[in-house]
Each structure stands twice: as structure tokens, then as C-alpha cells.
């Protein structure tokens, strides 16, 4: 009987870091073209619309960056936590609570200089995210309760909290729409380039990414966090305070996710709305994983998924294919990538029949 077996490589395959993600994207396109066919569209045209078109128009390209901004942030938040061995799957909830805090302070910043207004928004968002991340983090580090479950449960809780506020105390008194009061001009993130929606939030995202990259890859704290993530047992043996490191990573991650909420309120929506996130926190897990928990990778993966998002909506307008195609593509891409990336460390061996 002949068989194919998976065998460990003695050295990890260096070029694989570049080649394998491309392979994963190709396989994903092949697989998802089935869905496109089923929706009576031509996959080539649709994929052209998604992956090439944005580079041919200034507006689409900048719109992709607008769409990438929150993904950079949530991706960074998740990567920071995962690197440290803290499975924060609650970026969605933390983002929402960050947005609540920012939308709460935003209308009350009248009269302050814009620079303070923006800073106040960012800090309010960070604080909100941190608060929402604090409970699971303490439960994990003090009582050893699985953070995966608690962070997950707090996501629908935050969604309901937003809806409850908007249908209750925060309902717009004038329009009676379920959206909060508009933030003041001083709290608005300025637009960076005219005739686009690209705003100061993009700068915030880049700054956060640089800071996290420096901390994780260059600082002693980062080395300790990575050690705790790779082997908590080994880290503890080497005298590191693993619980403290987890707490730091969890709160940092929550704060970054909260900043994402502030950026959405301050730069795009200018108020709290029910659908303000729409799963950006979950997509952040995708971004972090696809990016190999590495900040440069997060940037690349965030941009790629933003292309898919923006492209899927324009493919929706042009070809009438459901915009949910973007979730189909990103979900498949995630599973295919984690599978394909294995081959950095393993290779296939074909055994002939004896």
C-alpha cells in the first residue's frame, strides 16, 4: 500500500514565508470561484474587480485604505495578545465599548482645541476597550478561567449594550433614529486627502502598529511576552511573571481594539450606530493569523482583506453578486492559509508500495 505522509523538515523553509501565502491565496480563489459561478457571475471578472480595479482608481484605492484602517488596528490587537499566549477573541466587544466611550465623550468636547479633542477620543476609546478586556483578563490570571470563552461571551453582550443604549437613553431625541448624538467638530478626525474619506485614524493605526512592532520585536518586555506565549512553563521556570505579562498583553490588546472603535466614531460615523463594527473584531483575528502574528504581516493581511471587502461591495454593485462573498473568501482564506503554512515546517513524502 502506498501512502502520502507528513514529515517534519529539519530546517524551516525560509522562502516558504513568501511563497506559501501566495499559494494559499491562489487555492482560495480556485475554491471560492465555485461560489461565484453558483451566483451566476464570471469569477475572472469578479476577481479582477476585487483585486485589480482598486489600483486603477484613486478613490477606490484610498477607500481600501479607509477600510484597512480598523483591520490594521484589530489585527495588531489580536496579534499582540496571541503572541503572548492570551487568546483574546473579544476584540469585537472591546471595539464596541471603545466606540461607546468615544461616542459618549465626543459630543461633550465643544470648545477644546482639535488636537486635544482627538486625543481625548483616542484615550476614551482605549479606556473603554481596556475596561471590557479587564474582566476576562483578571478571571484568567487570578482564577485561571479560560479567556477564550469569557471574551467570546462578552462580544454579544457588548452588541446588546450598544443596541440597548441606542434604543434607550442615547436614542437621538430629534430624529428618533437609533443613533447617538453627533460628536462635535473638535472631536472629528481630520480628512488627510481631499475627495476621500481617508482620515487621521489611518495615522493612528500606523503609529500603533509601529509602537507594537517595536515593543514586541525589540524590547525586553516583548521578548518576555513572546517567551510566555511560546511556553508559559518555560517562561515561569526562567523567572518571568507570566500572569503579569498576560495581563499586560490582554489590556494592551483591549486598549488597541478600543482605539479602533474611537477611530470609527471619530473618522467615519461621527456617532454611535448599531452596525458600527459589523464583525471587524472577528476579522482582526483573521488578519492577525494571516499575518503570522507579525506586524508587517498584519499590514499586508489587513490590506488584502480590505481589498476583498471593498471589492466585494463593488462586485455587488457591478455584477449583482452578494457582498457576503467577502466573508466566504476571508473565511476560506483563513482556513486554507493555516493549513498551507504548515508546510514551512513539514513536507509531504510519498511512500511507494512495498
Amino acid at each position: 500500500m502506498s501512502s502520502i505522509r507528513i514529515v517534519a523538515r529539519t530546517q524551516s523553509w525560509r522562502n516558504g514565508a513568501v511563497i506559501l501565502p501566495l499559494v494559499a491565496v491562489l487555492i482560495t480563489l480556485l475554491v471560492t470561484s465555485g461560489a461565484v459561478f453558483a451566483a451566476n457571475a464570471n469569477p475572472l471578472q469578479v476577481f479582477f474587480e476585487i483585486f485589480i480595479e482598486p489600483f486603477r482608481s484613486r478613490y477606490s484605492f484610498l477607500e481600501t485604505l479607509v477600510s484597512a484602517t480598523p483591520l490594521f488596528l484589530t489585527g495588531t490587537a489580536v496579534a499582540l495578545a496571541f503572541r503572548s499566549g492570551y487568546y483574546n477573541i473579544g476584540a469585537e466587544g472591546q471595539l464596541l465599548v471603545g466606540a461607546i466611550f468615544a461616542a459618549g465623550i465626543g459630543p461633550r468636547l465643544g470648545g477644546v482645541p482639535q488636537i486635544f479633542g482627538i486625543l481625548a477620543m483616542v484615550f476614551a476609546g482605549a479606556f473603554g476597550g481596556l475596561v471590557w478586556a479587564l474582566i476576562p483578563a483578571l478571571l484568567r490570571t487570578r482564577a485561571n478561567i479560560d479567556e477564550v470563552v469569557t471574551t467570546l461571551l462578552l462580544n454579544p453582550t457588548a452588541t446588546l449594550l450598544v443596541a440597548g443604549l441606542l434604543n434607550g437613553p442615547w436614542r437621538n431625541p430629534v430624529t428618533h433614529f437609533n443613533e447617538s448624538e453627533r460628536i462635535v467638530a473638535a472631536a472629528e478626525f481630520p480628512i488627510l486627502l481631499s475627495r476621500s474619506r481617508i482620515n487621521f485614524g489611518f495615522v493612528v493605526a500606523v503609529i500603533v502598529m509601529i509602537i507594537v512592532a517595536l515593543v514586541v520585536h525589540r524590547s525586553a518586555l516583548g521578548l518576555k511576552m513572546r517567551a510566555a506565549g511560546l511556553s508559559p512553563e518555560g517562561a515561569r521556570f526562567n523567572g518571568l511573571a507570566v500572569e503579569g505579562l498576560l495581563l499586560k498583553a490582554a489590556l494592551g490588546s483591549g486598549a488597541i481594539a478600543g482605539i479602533t472603535g474611537a477611530c470609527l466614531v471619530g473618522g467615519i460615523q461621527f456617532r454611535l450606530t448599531e452596525g458600527i463594527s459589523g464583525g471587524l473584531g472577528y476579522t482582526g483575528i483573521l488578519v492577525a493569523t494571516l499575518g503570522g502574528l507579525n506586524i508587517l504581516g498584519v499590514a499586508a493581511a489587513g490590506f488584502l482583506l480590505a481589498l476583498v471587502n471593498v471589492g466585494a461591495s463593488s462586485a455587488n454593485r457591478v455584477f449583482g453578486i452578494p457582498a457576503q462573498l467577502s466573508a466566504v473568501i476571508s473565511g476560506s482564506l483563513m482556513m486554507i492559509t493555516v493549513a498551507v503554512m504548515l508546510f514551512r515546517r513539514y513536507r509531504l513524502v510519498y511512500r511507494k508500495a512495498k
Binding site: 461571551l153 453582550t157 449594550l161 440597548g164 434604543n167 483573521l286 452578494p322 457576503q324 473565511g331 504548515l342
Partner: protein, 302 residues
């Protein structure tokens, strides 16, 4: 009195998908694998069950299709985490995102509906055994779940060699291997059984209670099931007890909303209550819970 009857009647109904989902997750985790695809599997079960029932005009076909989709989802996740041994957190979450995306994509493409929907299917009805009403008036699926599926699973785990094998590969796959058990096959079976149960739990919502499909229909019930498994320390009856607790709080807030005294409170805040109670229950019972010995660890012979 009728208030309590109403609450208990609703509790049993609400607990049905949780009972199915959490027993599916118990079987899966007992084999040492975490299935974070549970939310998506329940979602896909709800949608594809509805879709098949709508297309064929048969709720039975709908249920069968839902279960088949759950089995497929379990098999696909097994391929990723058992055969390839990839990280179970990411594979499971990818699965959830993929299944929810696919369900909504097909919903949009084939049924042409997005927000809310008016499409309806004939549902499994409520039965009143011996003409009893009140608490006893429940869906047939609820009766089958609570009186047949969950006890059978308990029996399977305890009294069959499959059950013993599932526990063994979850605790110590090396030992199971040496004992002549096919570790990977056993995990595949556990994940497929688990996926079938989860999808059936999702299908209960469309094919019994609602008769239609709406977006975000699962609304975190899958995540609740994950908590119930830990709360129940990997036992199906104990997880069910947790599910009943969640459902009681859920049913209670649902009834409270109708009282005048609570009119001012936005109902969403009450709706968040069961999730918070679940976390509290987890804190009360799940401190230093003892996970299966090989939890999250792929098995590969040295």
C-alpha cells in the same frame, strides 16, 4: 403561578438548541479537540436546514440536510486539526467565519433576501403528551433532545467502547494508540458526531421555533455552549444543567419585559443578562477546571 409556568415552558424550549450544541461540544472536547466552529456550525445548520426545507417543502429533509452539513463541517475541521494538526483556535474561528459567510451568501444569492425575511416553512409542531398543556406543551424536538439524545450520549460515552476510546484519545492519545485505538479516526468520529448535534441545534431555531431564517439568528448561542461545557466539566448532563440555568434567566427576562414595571428598561440590556449570568456561573464552577489531558494538542507519533 401562570408566570412561573410560562417561564418554565419557555426555559425548556430555549434550552433545546443549547442542549444540542453543548452536548456536541462535549463529545468533541472529550476527544481533546476544541471546536470554535460551533457558532458557525449552528448557523449553517439553521440556514441550510431552512433552505432545504423551503426548497423541498419538507421539514424532515431540512433537518436531514442540516445534520449532513454539520457532519461535513465536523469532517472539514477534523481534516484541519486532526490530520494536519493546525492551531485549533484559528481553524475553528476560520470555520465559523466561513460558515456564517457561506450561509449568508447563499441566502442572498438563492433566496434573494437580506434583512429580515418573509419566507416561511412548515415547522415541527408542539406536542401535548396525554393532552397535558402548560410546561409539557413542547416541540417534539425538545422532547427528543432532552429525553433521548442527551441520555443516549451519556450512555454512549460511558458504556460503549467508542465512548471509552473518545475519552482515551482526549486524555492520553499515546496510550490510546498503544492500546490499538485509531486516534485520528476516533477524533474524526467525535468531531462529526459533535458537528451533527450542533447543526441540529441551529436547525431547531428555524425548523421548530421560528419557521424562517433571520440574520444573526444564533447570536452567540454557540459561545454560550462553549461556556456550558466547562461549567459542566465535560459531562453532558451537567452541561445540560448549565443550559437550563441560562435558559431560565433568558425566559425570565423575556417575561419580565412584559411587566409594566420594566417598561423603561431597553430590552437589549435584559437580553444581555443571560450572557453575564453564564460568565458568573463559569467563575463559580470553572475555577481551575480540569481540561482533557490532550486538549488542543494534535497527535503525531514520535
Amino acid at each position: 403561578m401562570s408566570f412561573l409556568v410560562n417561564v418554565l415552558e419557555a426555559m425548556l424550549r430555549v434550552s433545546t438548541p443549547l442542549a444540542l450544541g453543548s452536548s456536541g461540544e462535549v463529545v468533541t472536547e472529550r476527544s481533546g479537540v476544541l471546536n470554535l466552529g460551533i457558532e458557525g456550525t449552528m448557523y449553517a445548520g439553521a440556514f441550510f436546514g431552512f433552505y432545504a426545507a423551503y426548497q423541498t417543502d419538507s421539514r424532515w429533509v431540512g433537518l436531514a440536510v442540516a445534520i449532513a452539513v454539520g457532519a461535513l463541517a465536523g469532517a472539514l475541521l477534523s481534516f484541519l486539526v486532526v490530520t494536519l494538526g493546525v492551531n485549533q483556535h484559528t481553524a475553528g474561528l476560520g470555520m465559523t467565519i466561513f460558515l456564517i459567510g457561506t450561509s449568508e451568501f447563499v441566502n442572498r444569492a438563492a433566496l434573494g433576501t437580506g434583512f429580515g425575511t418573509s419566507l416561511k416553512v412548515e415547522t415541527f409542531g408542539v406536542i401535548k403528551p396525554f393532552g397535558l398543556g402548560g410546561i409539557a406543551a413542547q416541540y417534539g424536538m425538545t422532547y427528543v433532545t432532552l429525553l433521548i439524545v442527551v441520555p443516549c450520549l451519556w450512555w454512549m460515552l460511558r458504556h460503549t467502547s467508542l465512548g471509552l476510546a473518545i475519552t482515551a484519545v482526549g486524555e492520553n492519545p499515546e496510550a490510546a494508540d498503544v492500546a490499538g485505538i485509531n486516534v485520528k479516526l476516533t477524533r474524526y468520529i467525535a468531531l462529526i458526531i459533535g458537528g451533527m448535534l450542533m447543526a441540529a441545534g441551529g436547525a431547531f431555531l428555524t425548523l421548530a421555533t421560528l419557521g424562517s431564517f433571520t440574520l444573526d439568528i444564533i447570536a452567540g448561542r454557540g459561545w454560550v455552549c462553549l461556556a456550558l461545557v466547562i461549567f459542566g466539566r465535560w459531562g453532558v448532563f451537567r452541561a445540560l444543567a448549565g443550559g437550563l440555568l441560562f435558559s431560565f434567566v433568558y425566559a425570565l427576562q423575556f417575561r419580565l419585559r412584559l411587566l409594566d414595571a420594566w417598561q423603561g428598561v431597553p430590552f437589549e440590556l435584559l437580553l444581555a443578562l443571560p450572557y453575564l449570568i453564564t460568565i458568573v456561573a463559569l467563575v463559580a464552577s470553572g475555577r481551575n477546571a480540569k481540561y482533557p489531558g490532550a486538549y488542543l494538542k494534535p497527535y503525531r507519533r514520535a
